[in-house]
């Protein structure tokens, strides 16, 4: 896609205002909350801190395209739906993009601690994170089976 942009516009502004890709959210506009997380060349990036010009020649993925390779619904989206992991849903697109990057990088079932570390840059104010952890671990098992799951299983023992 080719696009003429203002040189000072962020990627988030161009996505939301020029392309009407409203799935990436503005929560703080300064890189604190993670609601605008997209993927640039497959890696999570904060669209509000990225100048749009920086994306030239790179592949930018947003939540709108997440289900494309999965018949419209990514296993993460399905797991979030089953676990009621989205309450208000405002942070969810960003979390899905961070979680998808984690699951692609690991290509195996993930532990709750791995998810915590990978998603530490995405704030959620509704859920207490519990159902999101359940959903991401569940999706990783749906995608990769449970045979090679880490020893801690889906839920760490209470300390």
């Amino acid at each position: 896609m080719q696009l003429a942009i203002e040189p000072h516009h962020t990627l988030l502004e161009v996505l939301r205002y020029q392309l009407d890709l409203i799935g990436s959210k503005q929560g703080c506009d300064k890189g604190d909350c993670g609601a605008c997380t997209v993927q640039i060349d497959g890696k999570p990036a904060l669209a509000c801190l990225t100048l749009a010009a920086h994306a030239e020649g790179r592949e930018v993925s947003t939540v709108e395209g997440l289900g494309d390779a999965h018949g419209g619904c990514h296993p993460l989206q399905d797991a979030f739906d089953r676990h009621d992991a989205a309450q208000c849903g405002f942070c969810t697109p960003g979390i899905l993009l961070s979680a998808d990057a984690l699951l692609r990088a690991r290509a195996r079932p993930v532990s709750r601690q791995e998810v915590r570390e990978a998603l530490a840059g995405n704030l959620c104010r509704c859920t207490g994170y519990t159902k999101i952890l359940d959903a991401v671990v569940d999706a990783s098992e749906v995608m990769h089976g449970t045979d090679d799951a880490p020893k801690s299983g889906t839920k760490e023992a209470a300390q």
Binding site: D84, F90, T92, R125
Partner: protein, 797 residues
């Protein structure tokens, strides 16, 4: 899938519970996860302008003049308004109208709105703000509530009747002084609860447009569309029937969007003036200054006990720091005392609460409105008493449980009560008994309990109309449409309505469409506050759905020549109970019913019972149709070298009456417990008096909220003690489970290292100071070492 024989509501005719008590995909979640849901800031209208608000840099100043001519002369600027364009005072509580859309004569806190610009884009609007010249006469600011109460010659809020006293409540039940005199033990302590803010991830946003038919439509990220509708009519001087308020899907609220804000009035006025759509999105910094969060409270408590641990009486004195405006403060001041009288019974109670105006962003309702702070105090008091009396803190709470079908000392009628069951569940899940004995120095467990309301018995403005109403229509294609004014703010109320309707009509949730929070299309609902929606709107929904079920079953029975009550609706079919092989798809049953009755539509209304409150002035405030109960156990590890408190796990047992949708209820419990944990350990919403009253860090980086890595394990344990007042017995679940997190953590810190944290939050410097103070007392021989026989790491010698 089980039938509940005990609950009359919803079980008429033996309709099976095919939805209630299950696990559901929310009716509106998938579109949110695909990024296609349009939140307010995602709305874009042709020729839309963008607005920005110029804000006061002073905490207290008289406005001498505003010159907007240079801004207005800029290309791309369409209009500028100031306080004088919207001078009508308003207030979410009708008795305290003490704010205006923009400041008229005075700015009362840093960030108070002065003028608003509508321009082609945000950049132009921001540039125009710089060109507005405001001349101020700076006045002395007051930041401390007690000093403000004494400063009689420096009233902050120009509409206040009593100087800087915003509200005072003094209520006494029984003879408190005599009771405390006769008690075996009186625990006396001062507590301080620092204010906190909501920090919903979606900033406030509003869009207004005058449609060609002259109707002013306002889309707003609000949790109370009805009250916003009323206040818009008042301030704009328009009849309510010329205004339509729509709440688009909302990105979190927690009480922070439960009253009108300057942006809604500004976009409405600017849309009227310019004839074009106008949108305003707060920056994150503006969200912090808009605030309306939890009040800081200074609380002095005296609590009496018998030697076997029974609470005899409570004497509470509380100062509330209200900030510049009343907001819900009248109610907060009552709640700071009125909601303390369960889950523990006692016979004597006095509370004296005073709310002060200060030159800070106004405080208001945050999840657990007004009762989270006193809950912290009383639960710490009980823990101290348990220690002094040599009792187990859970046993002591069980001993004081007020029980079911009773009344509190302040006259509130309590129905169902699962508090003791909550205590038993957290005791066993946390392995409390062995942890209390065996955890070494530096590690500990603490317990706390609480109660909360499921809606308030009386609405904000007095009237005899229903507090909730729902309309449902059935469609000949086999679908139901629910029209409800209730605000789904992420808590899942749209799904709750679908679950109830699906349960009553045998429909899968996919065949139910919920249209909510649009004042043109939906019946009035009072909004998402005081945990009222499940009980109130749920009851209204049950009534409407049951009326339709009767029509459908009647029409089917007529055709099968069997009594209506032999027909049941389940799994998308009408079924003959006595011959289940005989069934028909619901779409066809709906056609039969529509043929017999005309369009299938029914309404349901709910009003609260009026005999469940105290018979004295103020006795209605805080009274609820039903009360939830909660108990938490928190396990912590305290590092004596750094003062860092690591909360490992919180076990959260909550009596929600009946879980209509289990994962959604768990999510409310987990989210609540998380938010309480955050207030205990890291959050404080303050302004800096040393820097002219500015917020020291109005960002989500500096105002730290817990990340995935900070948040403890949260174990949700649903307890169901069905209440006759709730739909299928349901009570609230979204606010009660916040309360005990804070005192449970405080009490766990004591169990871990022997220090009482009576001021929030429990930051490392405060914990270290308390540890050092204890070590000093130990050296002086005033204290023996805490947990002397264990080898916890890093004990301060």
């Amino acid at each position: 899938m089980s039938e509940n024989e005990d609950i009359p509501v919803g079980s008429e005719g033996g309709q099976p519970h095919t939805q209630v008590g299950g696990v559901h995909r929310k009716v509106d979640a998938m579109e949110r996860m695909r990024g296609v849901t349009r939140y307010t800031d995602d709305l874009k209208l042709p020729r839309m302008l963008h607005a920005k608000i110029k804000r006061s840099p002073h905490p207290h100043a008289k406005i001498l003049s505003i010159d907007a001519s240079a801004a207005l002369a800029m290309p791309g600027v369409h209009a500028v308004i100031t306080g004088k364009d919207l001078p009508e005072p308003y207030g979410i509580i009708p008795w305290t109208p003490d704010e205006t859309a923009l400041c008229v004569e005075k700015a009362l806190h840093v960030g108070d709105g002065i003028a608003c610009v509508a321009a082609d884009d945000e950049d132009t609007a921001n540039e125009a703000l710089e060109k507005i010249v405001v001349e101020y006469e700076v006045l002395e600011p007051l930041f401390d509530p007690e000093q403000a109460l004494e400063a009689r010659d420096n009233p902050i809020n120009p509409y206040s009747q009593k100087g800087n006293l915003s509200k005072k409540v003094l209520l006494e039940f029984g003879d408190v002084d005599a009771t405390l005199e006769q008690s075996d033990l009186v625990v006396e302590a001062d507590y301080f609860f620092e204010g906190t803010t909501h920090a919903a991830i979606e900033p406030h946003c509003a869009l207004a447009h005058v449609e060609t038919n002259g109707i002013l439509t306002v889309w707003s990220a609000t949790q109370v569309s009805h009250y916003l509708h009323r206040e818009l009519a008042k301030v704009l001087g328009l009849p309510a029937n010329r205004i339509r308020v729509i709440q688009p899907p909302l990105g979190g609220a927690f009480g922070g969007k439960s009253e009108p804000f300057d942006l809604e009035f500004c976009v409405a006025k600017l849309a009227v003036m310019t004839g074009r759509p106008v949108k305003l999105l707060y920056t994150r910094e503006e969200v912090f200054y808009a605030h309306r969060g939890r009040h800081p409270m200074k609380m002095k408590y005296r609590t009496g006990f018998t030697k076997d641990g029974k609470i005899t009486g409570v004497d509470a004195k509380t100062i509330l720091d209200g900030g510049a405006y009343s907001s819900f403060g009248l109610v907060t001041t009552y709640y700071s005392g009125q909601l303390l009288c369960a889950p523990y019974g006692f016979d004597a109670y006095r509370f004296h609460s005073k709310r002060a105006y200060t030159n800070k962003p106004a405080c208001g309702p945050k999840r657990g409105h007004g009762s989270v702070q006193p809950r912290f105090a009383i639960e710490c008091q009980i823990d101290k008493a348990a220690e002094q009396l040599g009792l187990d803190p859970i046993d002591m709470r069980l001993h004081n449980d007020i029980g079911a079908d009773t009344a509190t000392v302040n006259g509130f009628k309590v129905g169902s009560n699962g508090f003791s069951e909550c205590l038993r569940r957290v005791r066993s899940s946390s392995v409390w008994d062995s942890k209390r004995k065996e955890l070494p120095y530096g590690r500990g467990v603490g317990v706390a309990g609480s109660t909360y309301i499921s809606g308030t018995n009386y609405p904000i403005y007095p009237n005899d109309m229903p507090q909730a109403a729902v309309q449902i229509t059935l469609d000949r294609s086999g679908r139901a449409r629910i029209f409800s004014g209730a605000n789904d703010i992420g808590q899942g109320s749209n799904t709750m309505l679908a679950v109830i309707t699906g349960n009553e009509l045998g429909l899968p949730l996919d065949d139910i469409r919920v249209l909510s929070a649009d004042t043109d299309l939906c019946p009035v609902d009072l909004g998402a506050y005081s945990s009222r929606i499940t009980l109130m709107v749920g009851n209204a929904c049950v009534e409407a759905a049951q009326k339709l079920r009767r029509l459908v079953c009647e029409a089917v029975g007529k055709r099968w020549e069997i009594p209506r009550k032999r027909v049941t609706l389940a799994q998308g079919q009408a079924i003959d109970r006595e011959d289940p092989e005989r069934n028909v798809p619901l779409a066809e049953a709906f056609v039969w019913a529509e043929s017999d009755n005309g369009l299938l539509a029914a309404t349901g209304s709910y009003n609260t019972p009026k005999d469940r409150h105290g018979d004295y002035r103020g006795g209605t405030i805080g009274a609820s149709p039903a009360y939830s109960f909660t108990a938490h156990v928190a396990e912590v590890e305290v590092d004596p070298m750094t003062g860092v408190v690591d909360v490992k796990t919180i076990w959260v047992a909550h009596d929600c009456g009946r879980a209509l949708s289990r994962k959604i209820v768990e999510g409310q419990m987990e989210g609540s417990a998380y938010m309480g944990f955050a207030e205990a350990i890291m959050e404080q919403h303050v302004v800096d008096p040393g820097h002219n009253g500015v917020h020291p860090g109005p960002s989500l980086l500096d105002y730290r909220i817990p990340t995935f890595l900070d948040t403890p394990e949260l174990e949700a344990l649903i307890v169901e003690s069905p209440d006759a007042q709730g739909p299928y017995g349901a009570k609230e679940a979204g606010e009660g489970p916040l309360h005990p997190s804070i005192p449970a953590i405080a009490n766990a810190i004591y169990d871990a290292v022997g220090i009482r944290m009576d001021s929030l939050p429990f930051t490392p410097p405060r914990v270290l100071a308390a540890l050092q103070a204890r070590a000093q007392r130990e050296r002086a021989g005033d204290h023996s070492p805490h947990k002397p026989n264990t080898h916890g790491a890093g004990r301060i010698a």
